[in-house]
């Protein structure tokens, strides 16, 4: 984290959630080729794309990248995607994309792209939503918003971390639930068609007396509607506003 130097202007307003890490500006600036080595269908609408990026500088769970596609006439489409894989030094990374109806980039990847194709990526980007695995983390995600949170869960397992981690993930039905086979004791699934949306009741056991020493760092990810709803529930449940990090997919 780039701390402000002494004498720097500090706004009289309260929060200013600091970023968790310093961002590697060189990695962020450079476009690299990503070779698609595997495509796995996760649900009827979501698939995981494994990319070989030989010079990948590594990332922290929660970070994202920019992906671009280029047409023969030079036309370019670029979008942000969260890293789904844990940092593992393999030179390969995974993204999980929802197939957005009529979507230009997700549509191409879901219907045209195949193993052996290349796309271009730059990143990792943004230190704000990153989780280095140091503080207890309470993760709330919906739909493809679970992608950066799964990177955190995978990292927690892979590195054998003991710091508390809880994931509450919501999806419309079991068939819409991304990574359904991968969840363990850390996860609670909310299927909204059957039980309705996330409520204070889901959060209550984790907040107040239920929180770990030092409290949670909360990470919320999904559509703007979900982010508004879930972050509001956290605030009402007593989670400090300056310890809620939100990634909205737009």
């Amino acid at each position: 984290m780039t701390e402000t130097t002494s004498g720097a202007f500090v706004p009289p307003t309260a929060f200013a959630v600091p970023g968790r890490i310093a961002v590697n500006e060189q990695a962020a600036a450079r476009w690299q080729q990503g070779l698609i080595t595997e495509i796995r269908q996760e649900t009827h609408a979501a698939a995981t794309f494994r990319l070989k990026v030989p010079d990948w500088q590594g990332h922290l769970p929660g970070q994202h990248l920019m992906l671009r596609l280029t047409a023969p006439d030079g036309y370019v489409a670029q979008r942000h995607y969260s890293l789904a894989s844990a940092p593992d030094g393999s030179g390969e990374i995974e993204l999980t994309l929802d197939h957005v109806p009529g979507g230009e980039v997700s549509g191409h990847l879901h219907t045209v792209a195949r193993v052996g194709d290349t796309v271009e990526v730059r990143g990792p980007l943004s230190g704000f939503f990153a989780w280095p695995g140091d503080r207890p983390a309470l993760l709330l995600g919906a739909g493809s918003g679970v992608v950066p949170l799964m990177s955190m869960v995978r990292h927690h397992r892979r590195a054998g971390l003991t710091v508390p981690l809880r994931l509450i993930v919501s999806a419309r039905t079991r068939a819409d639930l991304i990574y359904a086979d991968e969840y363990g004791a850390e996860t609670e699934v909310v299927l909204t068609r059957a039980e309705g949306r996330l409520t204070a009741r889901h959060l209550a056991p984790h907040l107040g007396a239920g929180q770990p020493d030092g409290g949670w760092e909360a990470y919320v990810c999904g559509s703007n509607g979900f982010a508004e709803h879930a972050s509001r529930l956290l605030v009402e449940g007593g989670q400090p506003v300056d310890r809620i990090r939100i990634e909205r997919f737009g």
Binding site: F15, E25, W31, A71, Y75, E120, F128, L234
Partner: protein
Amino acid sequence: MTAHDPVPTRGFTGRARAADRDPRLPPGQYDARDTWPVLSAEVTPRLDAADWTLRVGGLVARPRTWTWAEAHALPPSRYAGDIHCVTSWSKFGVRFGGVSLDTFLAGAGGPLPAATHVVAYAHTGYTANLPLADVTGGRAWIVWEYDGEPLPPEHGGPARLIVPHLYFWKSVKWVAGLELLDHDEPGFWEKNGYHHRGDPWREERYAGD
């Protein structure tokens, strides 16, 4: 500097487009049409207009604070034009209503000669840095209306800064004030790897661009 030219992607043609790209669209951007994505990283504050204030401080002749009523008594000014978000969407022909930032700066006695930069900050504590020249001369506004309606909370209501010629993360939502400085000081996203200036026409997205 992005190291090389884009490499064509097998099979990608892109969305059907007019032979001539819309000249209002900066490089790498697409037209979000009727949507207006929300990307703020913090909890949307519930801020009553009655509690909203705007402070102009630091290197100005007479630092001062305006209440909602005092700000609304200033001569109104509008922006009608385009906005561009670093996440790649642009929105054409949007209309914001409020007061020119020049009016607030004049109300604070004007910038002192030493002032070169500002930090704009929100009631949430979010910050963005800007060269003073980017927020003077009719290029920045404090706005509370969108399309003739009150600005919705998730878009920065009751009032936000807009600096439409730069990427929109500079247009601080729930704006609380501007501090004029004699040096540049990175704001929230700028500390998180984003470009210091953020000119969409030069595609200044991230540090190093």
